[in-house]
Symmetry: C2
């Protein structure tokens, strides 16, 4: 049994874990990263990255189907799902190789194996000659999450949201259970590729953490594109019957060739409570504002503390944890509570959806006196020029302070406006400050400007403050 000593040991090589490892190295610590599977975690291997690569392929197919209005006549075309998967695999493996050399360059030591936490400063990693012991001044847990399962017949064709990305061939019909970002993206992807898709959500609407109007707008768009959306529909069981899979809901059965379960994720927190780490009721790890667990030398970041979170949220937490660790190691006290940063949330469908800051519902629940304005893309020259006029920008401000509280966008390329929207909300800019920044004409950024202008009664390219984004 060998033993080695580290400043920082990170368990889990996903975005939160590798960010913690690199940031700790950049502060001069010696760092071990232990990963049981592939570097890159869910995001790179089975989540954001392959799904975005496949979604891009589907968008190319969609472009071809709608090319005629732009003077491009395609008389014969088809798509090949296995070639699309090859593209996604190529993207994933290139990025994985990049990550590997990145960690090497930064001097992060990477060990493959399933780490077992063994006290406040110790982990064990199985190796060919027994168990390796690693001690550390601080440990960062970044073990992520796994897809939650739904009760089902073992013979039923049910895939998780991760497995769905690696389907060997496309079925004729799919039921997607779960109307969060993953479920909605998968429903859009397979519908665009000609599969008959039904999207089932237990709650009264899809995308429950996004602004309700953006979610409703995307629902209408998905329905127009052919997806059957059934909200307020609880799934009890999935059964198998004569080669078909049947989803049993409160509102009857839905039959399909395949069911994709995208009902959320569970933190990979097995065994942690046994060594004294407090968990939340949903099984995620309880942390303070510095990502510190109930064991002061152990920190947790990413999906492990959320169940289901965003990669960029986890990366931000990793930076915060490393800052805390650096102070802890040098004996400095941690500063008082810091505010939670604004974390954008996106859905990569067509149109895309972006929510930054407070939704209208959240702002009202906080008792704030809010003002709301919208700018529809059909009034935008940039959106018009590319025929992408679906959706709108919705801006929410505090009626008293005039501070921008939230920006919510449904539209083609909405995701690329996330930096602009987050800057405005995070920096607590007033509507006027944010509106008066010059934007390129024509560009989608003007939509943000116009929604803000509408908030202060100075719309330029719309005639009034629209009451409904989709009017």
């Amino acid at each position: 049994m060998s033993e080695s000593r580290w400043d920082v040991v990170v368990i889990g090589g996903g975005p939160a874990g590798y960010t913690a490892a690199i940031r700790a190295r950049q502060r001069g610590f010696n760092v071990l990263l232990v990963e049981r599977d592939e570097l890159g975690g869910t995001c790179l291997n089975r989540g954001c990255i392959p799904s975005k690569a496949l979604i891009h392929c589907a968008k190319v197919w969609q472009t071809i189907k709608s090319a005629q209005q732009f003077g491009v006549i395609v008389s014969e075309a088809r798509f090949d799902w296995s070639e699309m998967q090859k593209w996604a695999n190529r993207v994933v493996s290139t990025l994985r190789r990049g990550l590997q050399s990145l960690l090497k360059h930064h001097g992060v030591v990477v060990e493959k194996g399933e780490a077992k936490l063994h006290g406040a400063n110790e982990i064990l990693v199985p190796s060919s000659d027994g168990e390796k012991v690693h001690t550390a001044k601080a440990i960062v847990l970044a073990t992520g999450s796994s897809p939650a399962q739904i009760p089902c017949d073992p013979n039923a064709s049910v895939l998780t949201e991760e497995q769905a990305l690696f389907l060997s061939s496309l079925p004729e019909s799919i039921v997607v259970i779960g109307g969060g970002a993953s479920g909605v993206e998968l429903a859009w992807l397979f519908n665009t590729l000609g599969v008959k898709v039904t999207l089932v959500e237990m709650l009264p609407r899809i995308l429950p953490i996004m602004d309700a109007e953006v979610a409703e707008g995307l629902r209408q768009s998905l329905e127009k594109q052919g997806v059957v959306v059934r909200t307020g529909t609880k799934v009890n069981f999935v059964s198998a019957r004569q080669g078909k899979t049947s989803v049993h809901t409160d509102a009857g059965e839905i039959e399909a060739d395949l069911v994709i379960c995208a009902i959320g994720r569970k933190a990979n927190s097995n065994g942690l409570s046994e060594i004294g780490i407090n968990l939340n009721p949903n099984g995620s790890v309880a942390v303070n504002e510095w990502q510190q667990t109930s064991v002061p030398t152990i920190f947790a970041v990413g999906d492990l503390v959320h169940g289901s979170g965003t990669a960029h949220g986890g990366m931000m937490e990793a930076e915060r944890a490393v800052e805390a660790i650096a102070r802890q190691i040098s004996g400095e006290p941690l500063p008082p509570v810091r505010e939670n940063p604004v974390v954008p949330v996106c859905t990569y469908t067509e149109p895309q959806a972006l929510s930054v800051g407070l939704t209208e519902q959240e702002a009202k629940e906080k008792g704030l006196d809010v003002e709301v304005a919208r700018f529809p893309w059909r009034a935008s020259g940039a959106a018009m020029a590319s025929g992408a006029t679906e959706g709108f920008v919705k801006a929410i401000a505090d009626a008293n302070t005039k501070q921008v509280l939230g920006l919510h966008i449904l539209g083609v390329d909405a995701v690329n406006l996330n930096g602009e929207a987050t800057l405005i909300v995070e920096r607590k800019m007033t509507v006027e400050q944010a509106a008066n920044i010059v934007r390129q004409h024509p560009s989608l950024s003007e939509g943000v400007k116009e929604a803000l202008w509408a908030l202060i009664g100075l719309p330029l390219h719309i005639t009034k403050r629209p009451d409904r984004g989709r009017e």
Copy 2:
């Protein structure tokens, strides 16, 4: 001869003019807008909007040509230039109708005709029953600019950058004279549609007002795509010979079916000096920081004061002029000099180019001690997923204050990052402040974050501060 009285008369219905008119109405003034041609000016009718619509069509064609790597197999496709033009016309006429009803809604009175300035508070507009006289407390001149001409044989096939958008059929070969944004966009457009294109620029490089590295990167990309780029090449004359047109340069002749002249624009300032308005040596109207001309009741905005400017720059000037007019009418003094806002500059090619704030050259000429870092798109998950890894983000900061001075981007969809980049530079954010804002993963906004992180020695997804964007 009828006479009518106004608070504000605006001459010219382009972006600067209509913005002045609407903003003046929003302050409660009664406003007359006089336009001799179509509402929307150069930008909407013969510039940004139709060119962006045609560029979108060409991008659809490009998508089809490169679809195979994304699993989409197109066995037969063609494009139809006249259908592409129909798309652009549809976009233009829809936006023009929108502008018309916008002005009507805001209560701007629009009169068609060629206005003639007739003193500090009076204009004349020809009408069926003689000349109409309009008097105003303030006059805003927004008469724009016209394409500059090159000496040429009257039989040579030479079109202006505006006329080129309305070509009835595509020739086999084109020489584009002028490597500014318009020339570069036209070169990209026609090259993408299969025309043999030579781009000729007198200066040592294309896009002289953009950062040199971005310009050089785009030049290399254009050459890779098939455009012949000849910089440092002065054109003396264009002649006609046996149905071919020949461009005579210092470095020899270049023959083509068609020549497009995109050498810049001249302010439409004819006759203004005769009524006492001072002009700059290049013929544009001289104004103070409030857009006021040497005649205190007359203001000038947009291309008229620049020769060749941007639509969004002109719109910003219009707002400034209206603010000044409002103070003047109410007898308030104008505040002291205000700083010039940051105005983004873009080129809508593939990849796109964006320059915000100071270029590296400008910062050094100002004697600033600058730090530079770059993030190449090939290290971005978002860019990788869509196969758009050409180009980079270049960030420039003041080495002492750490303030972000400039952000310069070459890459697919760079234009949509203009709001984010302009916010950072305009709000004088430090590198750390701008870098620490959370961005969606994966998204192109992360590229801005990474370039900023690299500036402070904390690159996350690259191994070091790259010395060259295209390494």
